[in-house]
Symmetry: C2
Subunit: 185 residues, 2 copies
């Protein structure tokens, strides 16, 4: 039976996001999407095409419960965790499997292959730095806001800022090294 018994089944990737967001007070699909875009997007993105169907599945499974709370004549469904939803969320947070990590970085791929066009290597590093600088600006813009929020969210933001700053410094140093090397020849 849906919604009864223990939350024994493993949560899908999107299910984790949705369950995790509800205690943040993000409770409509629309709100979840905009919030993710402003916050976790850097290390975890989500689209409407994932969120809305997942909301339905989770309700069928009894992990969340939706209530219609129209604002005026505008349809609006607000979700909350059921006891087994909270259980499933906490079971995931407490699981001690190695957390998945998956990166696709076109800049690093270009750098890796840069011996096929060595005269552009410096430009490739500069492009990576430019991208990181844009990211840093975004992170810095939301930091004051995150200071008012829960500690977990602040922690990931600060980690992201540090990581980005390190990358920028590495790019700068590499650019210097590459420039010096090409001047020698």
């Amino acid at each position: 039976m849906a919604g009864t018994g223990t939350a024994s089944q493993a949560l899908s990737a999107t299910a984790r996001v949705v369950l995790g967001l509800i205690p943040f007070g993000r409770r409509t699909g629309y709100d979840m999407k905009t919030f993710v875009d402003r916050t976790t997007r850097y290390f975890w993105a989500a689209s409407y095409g994932q969120i809305y169907p997942e909301l339905k599945r989770l309700e069928e499974q009894g992990l969340i419960r939706g209530q219609s709370e129209p604002s005026g004549g505008r349809a609006r469904t607000v979700y909350e965790l059921t006891p087994s939803g909270r259980e499933a969320l906490q079971a995931w947070l407490a699981s001690d499997e190695e957390p998945h990590y998956e990166l696709r970085d076109e800049g690093m791929l270009k750098l890796f292959f840069s011996d096929s066009l060595p005269e552009r290597r410096l430009e490739i590093v500069r492009a990576i730095r430019a991208r990181e600088e844009r990211g840093l600006e975004h992170h810095r813009a939301i930091e004051p806001h995150a200071r008012q929020g829960p500690p977990g969210a602040l922690l990931t933001l600060q980690m992201g800022i540090g990581l980005t700053e390190w990358t920028i410094a590495w790019c700068e140093e590499t650019e210097r090294r590459l420039t010096a090397e090409s001047a020698k020849q």
Copy 2:
């Protein structure tokens, strides 16, 4: 006509990997896969299900050319770049669009949501560190080998090592801070 004229069409993600690997001397589908697993996997993975069909497509488009070079009775197709393939590779390497970046980090997601189970926050950080330490070991193991290889590949490896070391240091500091905070209460 396939294979004639300029390499005007944008390359798919997998096409870039395949074209980039050929000048490395990685020329059978099998070899490309094992090489990717040992090297770029950290920032760019690829599977047989991507590589073999892509090899066919690229040959149809005239960007690569395959020759049958059986080793004994074992079928084996070795690919090389055509002039327009080399052109397409270099056009991609030289393009100055912002390079794509896409991360899915379950550890950071857990940390972000850790206010739903604050007593496990320290464990979450520890799990991230453990994962990074495993990655660092792997990176360090292949570093001596990469020193013999092309500069681009060495650069990405060293960047990966630095990034990983920074992350480990951040985790250690955060673990200390979290431990101190919980001792105060």
